[in-house]
C-alpha cells in the first residue's frame, strides 16, 4: 500500500513536470517509463474504483498535495488516475522543450502503427482520437448560430452548466476526505477568476437539483451545495456581490435555500435604509453612486413577492415590519418601505398573517 502511495506521488510530480521545461532533460527511456507508470496507475484505478477504503486512502494522499490554494497541476483526484495517461501524453506532445529522440520515442509509444497487438496502446490511441473528435465537434458547434449572438438565459447556458457541474464535482471530492476545507481554494478562485462569471457559475450550481442521476446510480449533491452555501454566507464581500445578480435568478435561489434568503433579505433592508427621498427629483436616491438604486430595489422586491409562499410571506412581513418601524405612514415619500409596498402589484401585497417570521434587528 505504501509503495502504491509513493508511486502515486511520484507520478503526480512527473505529471506536473511534464509541462515545464524540465522535460528537455528527458530521454526516450524516461518517456517510456513515464507512460508505463501511467498505464499501471490506470489499471489501479480500474481495479480499485469500487473499493471504498483503498480509494479513500489514495484520495487523501492526493488531497494533501492540493495545499491551501486548491488543486494544482498534477494528479488531483482519484478519478484523474484513469486519465493520467492521456494527460501525460498530451502534456508531452504540446511541450516544445521535449528533445528529438524523446519525442520520437513518445510517438512510437502512442502510435505504434498497425499490426502490433498491444491492446493497451490501441486503447490509449482510441481515447486520444476520440478526444480530438469531440474537440472538433465542440469547435463546430460553437460556430453554429445557436451559440453565437443572442445570449441564452443563464440557466440554459450549457457552458455555465458544465462549469457549475465541475465546481460541484470538486467540492464533492473535497468532501469525500474529511481534511477538505474548501474555503481556502474557493477564496483563491474568487480572487483569480473573473468575478461576475464566478458568481454566475455559483448561482447555477446552487440551482442544481439535489439528486442527480449519475452513471453510477443516484448521486446526492446536497452536501456540496450546503458547503457552497455555508462558504457564501461566511464571505460578506462575496455575498454582497452575489446579491447583485439578476433579480429573477436570486429569487429562485432564495426559494431553494432559506439560509441564503434570510441573508438576502438582510442585505436588501440595508440597501433600502441607505436611500433618502429627494424632494426636487421626486424620487428615492442614494448618496453613493455605488449603492443599489431605487428601481433595482423595487425590481427585486417585485420578483420576490411573486415567489410562492413561504418566501412571499416572509418578504411581505419584512416590508410591513420595516414600514411599521418607520412610523407606519401610508403616504408616499416618507418611508422607503411604504413606497415599496405601494408599488408592488396589488395581488401580491395581500398578506396572510401567519405570525412574524422575520425580525429586523433594531
Amino acid at each position: 500500500m505504501d509503495a502504491l502511495l509513493q508511486q502515486l506521488e511520484r507520478f503526480s510530480e512527473v505529471l506536473s513536470v511534464s509541462r515545464t521545461n524540465h522535460v528537455s532533460t528527458w530521454g526516450p527511456e524516461t518517456v517510456r517509463r513515464a507512460l508505463q507508470w501511467a498505464r499501471y496507475l490506470r489499471q489501479v484505478y480500474r481495479r480499485f474504483g469500487s473499493h471504498g477504503r483503498i480509494r479513500a486512502a489514495l484520495e487523501r494522499r492526493l488531497r494533501i498535495h492540493w495545499g491551501p490554494e486548491g488543486p494544482k497541476s498534477g494528479l488531483t483526484s482519484f478519478r484523474a488516475l484513469g486519465r493520467g495517461d492521456v494527460l501525460l501524453s498530451l502534456n508531452l506532445l504540446q511541450n516544445r522543450a521535449l528533445g528529438d529522440a524523446a519525442g520520437r520515442a513518445l510517438l512510437q509509444q502512442l502510435f505504434p502503427g498497425a499490426g502490433t497487438g498491444d491492446a493497451d496502446a490501441e486503447a490509449l490511441q482510441t481515447r486520444l482520437v476520440r478526444l480530438a473528435r469531440r474537440r472538433a465537434a465542440l469547435l463546430l458547434l460553437r460556430e453554429t448560430d445557436c451559440f453565437r449572438g443572442g445570449s441564452p438565459g443563464l440557466l440554459e447556458d450549457p457552458v455555465l452548466l458544465t462549469q457549475a457541474q465541475l465546481l460541484l464535482g470538486r467540492l464533492q471530492e473535497a468532501g469525500e476526505t474529511e481534511t477538505g476545507d474548501p474555503s481556502g481554494w474557493l477564496g483563491r478562485l474568487w480572487t483569480r477568476a473573473p468575478r461576475v462569471h464566478f458568481l454566475q457559475v455559483m448561482a447555477v450550481a446552487l440551482l442544481q437539483p439535489l439528486e442527480e442521476l449519475g452513471p453510477s446510480g443516484p448521486k446526492s449533491l446536497g452536501e456540496e451545495i450546503h458547503v457552497l452555501v455555508r462558504w457564501l454566507l461566511e464571505q460578506s464581500e462575496v455575498l454582497a456581490a452575489f446579491c447583485r445578480l439578476p433579480a429573477g435568478l436570486l429569487t429562485s435561489i432564495a426559494e431553494r435555500h432559506p439560509a441564503l434568503s434570510r441573508a438576502y433579505l438582510v442585505l436588501l433592508t440595508d440597501w433600502g435604509q441607505k436611500l433618502h427621498y429627494d424632494l426636487q427629483e421626486g424620487a428615492w436616491v442614494s448618496a453613493d453612486s455605488q449603492d443599489v438604486p431605487w428601481e433595482e430595489l423595487l425590481r427585486r422586491f417585485q420578483s420576490l413577492s411573486q415567489a410562492p409562499p413561504p418566501l412571499k410571506d416572509e418578504v411581505l412581513t419584512l416590508l410591513e415590519s420595516c414600514k411599521a418601524r418607520d412610523g407606519n405612514f401610508e403616504v408616499a415619500g416618507l418611508s422607503v418601505w411604504t413606497d415599496l409596498l405601494l408599488d408592488l402589484p396589488s395581488s401580491a401585497s395581500k398578506l396572510c398573517l401567519g405570525g412574524d417570521k422575520f425580525e429586523v434587528p433594531a
Binding site: 497541476s73 472538433a136 453554429t144 465541475l166 465546481l167 477568476a193
Partner: protein
C-alpha cells in the same frame, strides 16, 4: 514529400480544419499518415525540423482546442481541470441544450420568440453531417429527424439525411424506429437506398433460407416503417420492379411473401389511433379482396380451411375475369396482390392433393376452385382457354396419383410416380411453369401420403436433374417448413421427412 512539397501544405491545412477532424475516423488516418512521415534516423537539421513540424501537427490535431472564452478557461484552470476532463461533459451539455431547444421550438407553434429560425436549424444539420457517428450526438440527430418546422419546405439539408441513412445502414448509429421512419418519409432517396441495401443483402446471402431472409427484413426496420402507406407503396413498387426484371424469380417471390408477413405482423402490433384504410396500401385492388387475402388461416379451424380457400378463389376469379372483359386494368395487379400472400396457393395445393387422395368422393366444385387458384398463381397471363387446359392437366395428374394409392400391395416406386406426374412425356418443353406446378403437386404427395414416403428420396433424386430444379425443390421444402411453423400445423411425420429431404438436397449443393 520532396517530390510534392504541396503535400505538406495540404496536411497542415487538413489538420487545422475541424470539419475534417470531426469526420468518422479521419483523425486516425491523419495521425497514421503523419507518423509514416517521421524520419526514424534524422541525418541533418532538415530532417529534425521535419520531425518537429510533424510533432507540431500531431499536437495540433490532438489538443488544439481552446474554448476561447477567457472566463471559462480561467475558471477551469483555477479548478485544476484539463480539457480531457471537461470536454465530454461540455459536449453532452451542449447537445442536451440543443435538443431541448429543438423540442421547445417544435412544440411552441405560435410563440415565435422561442422558435429556432430555420436557418439555424439548417446550419445545425450541416454541422452534424460529419458527426453523425459520434455516440454523443445521437440525441441531437434524433431530435433533428423528428423536428418539424413551420415552413412548408424541408429545412434540413439533404446531405444530412444521406449521412444519417448511410450510418444507419452500416449500423454505425442506433436510432429509434420513429426517427428512422421520419428520415425515410422526408427523404425519398434514403428510403430507396435502404431497400436496395436490403436487396443486396438478400441476394448475397444463402439461398433458400427463409428464416434468414426474415431476420434481414426485420432488421432493416422496413416492415415497421411500411405501416405508413407512403413508405409501403414505394417499397412495394420496388419489389414489383424487381419481380418484373427477373421475370418472376422464385427468390424475389419468396422475399415479397416474407416481407408481407412481417409487414402484417407490424401492422397488427401498431396501436395507432390512425389506422389507414386498406385502399391506401393497395390502391388498385378492391378492398374486399384485400381484406379476404389478409385473413390469416391460423385464425380459422382446419376444417374450415377448405371453405376459406374456396372463398378466396371465387373473389379472385371474379376480380380477374371481370377485369379481363372491358376494364383497362390487367390481371397482373390481382396476381401481384395475390403473390404477396403466397401462403394461400401453397395451402390450396396441399388441400387439393389431400382431398384428392384421401377423400375422392368429395364434391367437384371445391376442387375446381382450388385448381383455378393454382393455375392462376403459376400462370397468371393465360387466356381463359389455356387456363382451362392447365386445370384439365392437373386433374389428370391427380387422378393418376390417386390411382396409384388405391389398393396396392407393393410400395410405389419412384419411376411410377414420375410417370404419373407425366414428366417423362414432356410434350411441350416450353411450359416450365406448368412443370413447376406438377412438381409441387408431386412433392405434396410425397410428404402427405404415407404410401409416398418410401419412394420420396428416390423420386427427388430423379426429379432434381438440373441445378435449377434442385434449387426449386429446396426452396419449396424450406418454404413449406417455414409455413407450417407459422401456422402451427401439426404434421410430425411430413415435417420430419421434409427436414430429411432438405438436408440431403443441401448437402448435395
Amino acid at each position: 514529400m520532396e517530390r510534392f512539397p504541396t503535400i505538406g501544405q495540404l496536411l497542415a491545412k487538413t489538420c487545422s480544419n475541424p470539419f475534417v477532424l470531426a469526420y468518422d475516423e479521419s483523425q486516425k488516418f491523419l495521425i497514421q499518415c503523419l507518423c509514416c512521415l517521421i524520419n526514424k534516423e534524422p541525418q541533418n537539421s532538415g530532417d529534425s525540423k521535419l520531425n518537429s513540424w510533424i510533432r507540431g501537427l500531431l499536437s495540433h490535431i490532438l489538443s488544439a482546442f481552446r474554448f476561447n472564452i477567457k472566463e471559462f478557461d480561467l475558471f477551469t484552470q483555477g479548478l485544476g481541470y484539463e480539457p480531457v476532463d471537461y470536454c465530454p461533459a461540455l459536449l453532452k451539455n451542449m447537445v442536451l441544450s440543443l435538443v431541448s431547444k429543438l423540442r421547445e421550438s417544435h412544440l411552441n407553434g405560435f410563440n415565435t420568440r422561442r422558435r429556432m429560425a430555420p436557418e439555424r436549424v439548417a446550419s445545425l444539420s450541416q454541422v452534424c453531417i460529419p458527426l453523425v457517428t459520434l455516440p454523443d450526438f445521437e440525441p441531437l440527430v434524433e431530435a433533428l429527424l423528428i423536428y418539424h418546422g413551420h415552413e412548408p419546405q424541408e429545412v434540413l439539408c439533404p446531405a444530412f439525411f444521406k449521412a444519417v441513412n448511410e450510418a444507419f445502414l452500416l449500423k454505425k448509429i442506433s436510432l429509434p424506429t420513429s426517427a428512422v421512419v421520419s428520415l425515410w418519409l422526408r427523404h425519398l432517396p434514403s428510403l430507396e437506398k435502404a431497400v436496395l441495401h436490403l436487396f443486396t443483402k438478400l441476394i448475397s446471402s444463402e439461398r433458400n433460407c427463409l428464416r434468414r431472409i426474415e431476420c434481414f427484413i426485420k432488421d432493416s426496420l422496413l416492415p415497421q416503417a411500411a405501416c405508413h402507406p407512403a413508405i409501403f407503396r414505394v417499397v412495394d413498387e420496388m419489389f414489383r420492379f424487381a419481380l418484373m426484371e427477373t421475370d418472376g424469380a422464385l427468390e424475389v417471390l419468396a422475399a415479397v411473401q416474407v416481407f408481407t408477413r412481417c409487414f402484417v405482423e407490424a401492422l397488427e402490433k401498431e396501436n395507432k389511433q390512425l389506422k389507414f384504410a386498406l385502399k391506401t396500401y393497395f390502391p388498385h385492388i378492391s378492398p374486399s379482396l384485400t381484406a379476404v387475402l389478409l385473413q390469416h388461416p391460423r385464425d380459422t379451424p382446419q376444417g374450415c380451411h377448405h371453405q376459406l380457400l374456396q372463398h378466396v378463389s371465387l373473389m379472385l376469379r371474379k376480380a380477374v375475369e371481370d377485369q379481363a372483359c372491358g376494364s383497362c386494368r390487367d390481371p397482373f395487379e390481382s396476381w401481384f396482390l395475390f403473390i404477396h400472400f403466397g401462403g394461400w396457393a401453397d395451402l390450396a395445393a396441399e388441400h387439393l392433393l389431400r382431398s384428392a387422395v384421401e377423400a375422392p368422393a368429395a364434391a367437384e366444385a371445391p376442387v375446381a376452385a382450388l385448381l383455378w387458384l393454382l393455375a392462376f398463381y403459376y400462370r397468371p397471363l393465360d387466356s381463359h382457354q389455356q387456363r382451362a387446359q392447365t386445370m384439365v392437366e392437373m386433374e389428370a395428374v391427380l387422378s393418376r396419383l390417386r390411382f396409384l394409392t388405391l389398393s396396392r400391395s407393393s410400395p410405389i416406386s419412384a419411376e411410377e410416380l414420375r410417370a404419373a406426374a407425366g414428366e417423362d412425356s414432356h410434350e411441350d418443353p416450353m411450359q416450365p411453369v406448368c412443370g413447376r406446378l406438377i412438381r409441387h403437386l408431386l412433392l405434396n404427395f410425397l410428404l402427405w401420403v404415407p404410401a409416398g414416403h418410401a419412394a420420396a428420396h428416390d423420386t427427388i433424386t430423379l426429379m432434381a436433374c438440373t441445378d435449377e430444379i434442385s434449387h426449386e425443390i429446396t426452396g419449396f421444402l424450406d418454404q413449406t417448413l417455414y409455413r407450417w411453423d407459422h401456422l402451427c400445423t401439426e404434421a410430425p411425420r411430413p415435417a420430419k421427412l421434409a427436414r430429411e429431404l432438405l438436408q440431403e438436397l443441401r448437402a448435395r449443393v
